[in-house]
Amino acid sequence: MANLTTRFFGLELKSPVIAASSSMTGNPEQIKKLAEAGAGAIVLKSIFEEEIYQQLQEELSLRPAIHSDAEYLDYFDYVIKDETLKKYVQLVADVKKAIDIPVIASVNCVSSGEWTLFAKKLEDAGADAIELNLFIVPSDAEKSNEYNEQFYFNTVKKVKEKVSIPVTIKISYYFSNLAKIAGELSETGISGITIFNRFFSPDIDINKEELVTANVLSQADEYLLPLRWTGILANQVKCDLAATTGIHSAGTAIKFLLAGASAVQVASVLYSEGAGAITRMNKEIATWMDKKQYRRIDDFKGSLNMTNAKNAAYFERVQFMKYFGGKEF
């Protein structure tokens, strides 16, 4: 009988299927369902540094004139931050009471300012680990590579200094040297890297000639990008890897495990199918393992990773030339 236990977030998980951070994981009722459906862990809905700012904006524009003293509003974002953090700490505590599986607090940052330092409060509230969602889109031409990269290292360093629970990061693919950065980040003592965070995508409505929101839920074929990089990074990082985006079926989940991931994080499929998707995926993974006579995840994990980087790039180039270069190899 197949054993689905795996290791991620520095913790033993009973299933490689993790409920990723989304609005579903902001509600204790929903979370309970996900836990009962067999999720390996729950990553709580993210708390955003930017959210504080957005709320401040709303407050400033909605305020009646009677509340507009400049000195009173000057540090009002701290008041909002305090309130928001209190609510999140309460969420962590409430969820911990309701379920048995690991509860991961998710912190979304755009700077390594004092925002990161409340991680200790999350630990005190009972979080089993912290996922840092490191979230910058490098669209500012004024900022150099080094400056942007510093953000990642500073943030990890600061949080690790404050807490003793495991810290993992979720990053984007916007690096000119992703393999190098991932490798270096994996040596900072973090317990895992999840690739990749999925940004909001703008789209264009040509009739209205307006910017609109693109599809919020992932499409099934979006998994190809993180799949490739799972294969490339699996042996180049010192910590565990997990992958996310486009994982809608057990088959896809297995692909990632074969490529070298220790776990996958799912969100969109939960929206479209409900918590039952996790139960289904667990069952199908187990069935496949039984068929292949694998007893444990480790029996097949990483067997299809691209073992060394030089080969991987060469392999890809060669395949590309073969299919599209019009030459016989």
């Binding site: 700012y53 401040l56 904006q57 709303e58 400033l60 524009s61 009646p64 009677i66 509340h67 507009s68 003293d69 400049a70 000195e71 009173y72 509003l73 000057d74 540090y75 009002f76 701290y78 008041v79 931050k81 305090d82 953090l85 700077s111 390594s112 300012g113 004092e114 330092l117 409340f118 200790k120 400056y147 510093q150 953000f151 500073n154 404050k162």
Partner: protein, 500 residues
């Protein structure tokens, strides 16, 4: 409002005003430069907690400055005043030499002119609307200095007018809190003949005027003179009395109080909730200023202690931060620093306070923000970790947003830190009245023109309604609430009379 316009016009047409206007040509008036307020020498004044920096205009200076005022047909200065003081009238009385009438004019609208003249941010209010700055691009008439002059003159002349009061109507009303809003309210209601009691939680009357604003800006004895006048008029003051705790609202109603004005202020200090903030030597500005201003902690005659730091860091950029850092300087700080995350220009403090602070040797560390505090072996703060900031996009209030600069952290030595990042409404009254409608930010919700809360017999004003604002706005609320409560009580008694 057209009554107002008519009234202003009528006043302006009076002979003495016309005469003054005709005395000098406007060309000559506008050539006179704005008066410079005599100030105590910076290095001298930091030796004293209780010596005012601004020493007041002389009679000659005041009259000359008052003559600059062109007595505009449409006095835009009044639009800038939150309580619509009849500015041209009082300024012209000073021009004429009739200073006591100037003071009387002020008192028609403002209960505490000696206070406002000192603490109002005139550069954002009346003076910013003056014709000189609006149209001539010259320095405005020094309305604030003149207001102070008239009020001080009257006080020092010993001829302070005690306003007349209407015959007693026997209706008991209460004001809760004894700060500017309540003092203003009490003054108006006692004139109308009501039986007014002001309840104050602390042992001193005056609220923020006493515990918050330092002596070198607003001497406590000036506040006391105003309070004496109110007492003379018949206002009763009860200190050490917390309405909602010492006695409930129901208790007071049983004692025949018919209506209440709540002005309990925004006294709850905000902290930043950053690591190390609870080490010893890190105080809220409220605590620091209360120790020094209210409890006289700087004097060895008084028992309350206060830390005298050598390296003092004050976090914030408003008037409270200025008051705190300048107090620290006077208490012997070698380095007294302002740590503010935005630029100098964006600091909300009164321009004059910033100028005075700089003259006194205060260091301004703009575009810096604390992220963590460190302590010595005894748990007393010894270092602050600062992070540099840069200004990003403007936010909804139009001010540019401070954004942390990656990797820019550095430490400075500090053995006293004052956190002056704002206050929140005092929770005592809302807790005592669960049925009172409170906004999501814990201020009391009132109907804006009437200052009446969701409980018809309860009116509110000042910081408990606004969050945190200025003395003059609090006073304006007090006056509005008085007018509104008067109407309410009159209607109520008519109904009762009608019924009986």
């Amino acid at each position: 409002m057209s009554d107002q316009k008519e009234y202003l016009k009528a006043e302006r047409e009076k002979e003495w005003r016309v005469e003054l206007r005709n005395k000098i040509k406007n060309r000559e008036r506008t050539d006179i430069p704005r008066v410079k307020m005599p100030e105590m020498d910076p290095l001298e004044r930091i030796k004293y907690q209780d010596r005012e920096v601004n020493q007041g205009l002389s009679v000659a200076q005041a009259q000359r400055e008052a003559s600059r005022c062109m007595d505009c047909v449409n006095p835009t200065c009044m639009e800038g005043c939150p309580v619509s003081i009849n500015i041209p009238k009082f300024v012209k009385y000073i021009d004429k030499g009739d200073f006591l009438s100037a003071a009387k004019t002020l008192k028609e609208t403002s209960a505490l002119p000696a206070v406002c003249g000192r603490v109002c941010p005139q550069e954002k209010q009346c003076e910013s609307h003056c014709f000189y700055i609006q149209k001539l691009k010259k320095e405005p008439v020094a309305i604030g200095y003149l207001e102070r002059f008239a009020a001080d003159y009257e006080r020092e002349s010993g001829q302070m007018s005690v306003p007349e009061t209407a015959p007693k109507n026997g209706i008991k009303i209460a004001a809760i809190g004894s700060g500017p809003a309540s003092l203003s309210f009490a003054g108006d209601m006692i004139k109308r003949g009501y039986d007014v009691t002001v309840f104050e939680a602390l042992h001193e009357i005056g609220g923020v005027l006493k515990y918050g604003i330092p002596e070198f800006r607003l001497p406590n004895k000036i506040v006391d003179v105003e309070i004496e006048i109110l007492k003379k008029m018949g206002v009763k003051f009860e200190t050490n009395f917390i309405v909602g705790r010492t006695a409930s609202f129901d208790d007071l109603k049983a004692e025949s109080f018919e209506a209440f004005f709540v002005a309990s202020g925004a006294g709850l200090p905000n902290f930043m909730n950053i690591p190390g903030e609870n080490y010893n030597g890190i105080l809220s500005s409220n605590e620091y200023l209360t120790r020094v201003n209210l409890m006289n902690a700087a004097s060895s005659d008084f028992d309350t202690p206060v830390f005298r730091g050598k390296n003092v860091a004050v976090i914030g950029g408003g008037n409270t931060a200025m008051d705190s850092v300048r107090t620290a300087k006077r208490l012997g700080a070698e380095r007294a620093m302002i740590i503010y995350r935005r630029s100098r220009e964006e600091m909300p403090a009164r321009v004059e306070e910033v100028k005075h602070a700089e003259e006194e040797g205060v260091e301004f560390l703009n575009l810096n923000n604390p992220v963590e505090y460190f302590a010595d072996a005894k748990g007393h703060v010894s270092r602050v970790r600062l992070q540099r900031m840069e200004l990003g996009e403007p936010d909804a209030s139009g001010r540019r947003r401070p954004v942390p600069v990656e990797g820019s952290e550095y430490d400075i030595a500090a053995d006293l830190v004052i956190v002056a990042v704002g206050v929140s409404p005092n929770p005592l009254i809302p807790k005592a009245l669960p049925e009172l409608k409170i906004s999501r930010w814990r201020t009391i919700e009132v109907e804006q023109d009437k200052m009446q809360s969701s409980l018809p017999e309860l009116f509110a004003g000042g910081d408990i309604v606004r969050g945190g604002a200025t003395v003059i706005l609090a006073m304006g609320d007090g006056r509005k609430a008085a007018a509104s409560m008067h109407e309410y009580l009159q209607q109520k008694s008519q109904i009762i009379n009608h019924k009986s």
